[in-house]
Symmetry: C2
Subunit: 160 residues, 2 copies
């Protein structure tokens, strides 16, 4: 049965599903595009670290990207293993690890950024500058709307 792109169910699906579909395709293509840099995922943490100079902790990354801190440990292990970041204990608060890019990461960051920029351009083809700005505004609004919804995750209890 052929796929009917104009089927009316498009608007009846959960908004999250529509975005999830885009997300999956987007990262599949981005991953392939940047594979040759020796890193095929976890680009976002690098960008956050780069832009949050000298102040980026793991907790901050988790909050910014909405990735739980346990998964974040594994992601950062991956980035450390690939020689892209280092963890340094914060002298001001020895619980925290300040994350920093290695020289190797700094070297390939321009390529990563331009790869992402190209992907964004591809994804947004057909939208003019005004429409693109509007889309980002919408995304920001929606992000804030869903940010504090009660989810399924339960607070972890500390047992003494």
């Amino acid at each position: 049965m052929p796929l009917d792109k104009n089927h009316p169910l498009f608007e009846h699906l959960p908004l999250g599903r529509l975005m999830g579909k885009i997300t999956k395709k987007y990262f599949g293509a981005l991953s392939k595009k940047l594979d040759h840099l020796g890193i095929d995922r976890h680009f976002s943490p690098l960008i956050v670290i780069a832009e949050t100079k000298e102040k980026c902790t793991q907790q901050y990354l988790s909050d910014m990207l909405n990735i739980d801190k346990v998964s974040m440990v594994r992601i950062l292990d991956y980035l450390v293993k690939h020689g892209l970041i280092i963890r340094a204990v914060n002298p001001a608060d020895r619980r925290e690890h300040i994350l920093q890019l290695t020289p190797k990461a700094k070297k390939i960051m321009p390529k990563i950024l331009s790869g992402i920029s190209d992907m964004n351009k591809t994804a947004l083809k057909g939208l003019d500058k005004n429409e693109q700005a509007l889309l980002y505004k919408f995304i920001e609004t929606i992000t804030k709307n869903v940010e504090n919804l009660p989810g399924k995750k339960v607070d972890i209890k500390i047992k003494q």
Copy 2:
């Protein structure tokens, strides 16, 4: 360190990441909201099946929702196990399974649809009707833009 929502890095992140964050929060909240119906995920296939009366195959579902057919088998197993759908061999092409909603599913569909509608309303709060229509138009455009990008997935070879 407090989370700065107005940090400029927002626009430097991959578009897929921004949407992925929304997706995660959205489904976390939706899952909690509809938990009492005895189904906490996989709402989208039900909607596609309901709207594609008598003609919905597994392959069609995979294409519509961009979920690979192997995962789709598991998702449909879940829905069958929960008594929400049945698989019926298509007499016209005995390779295909036509998916149908059970009476139980038909009964709770209105609640699922209104739950999704409420979630969409919550997510889109602050956007007027025009803006919402514009957002859907943008999503449709972006979906088409990324649909046929070369991803990481490789065609499965058939060994004889």
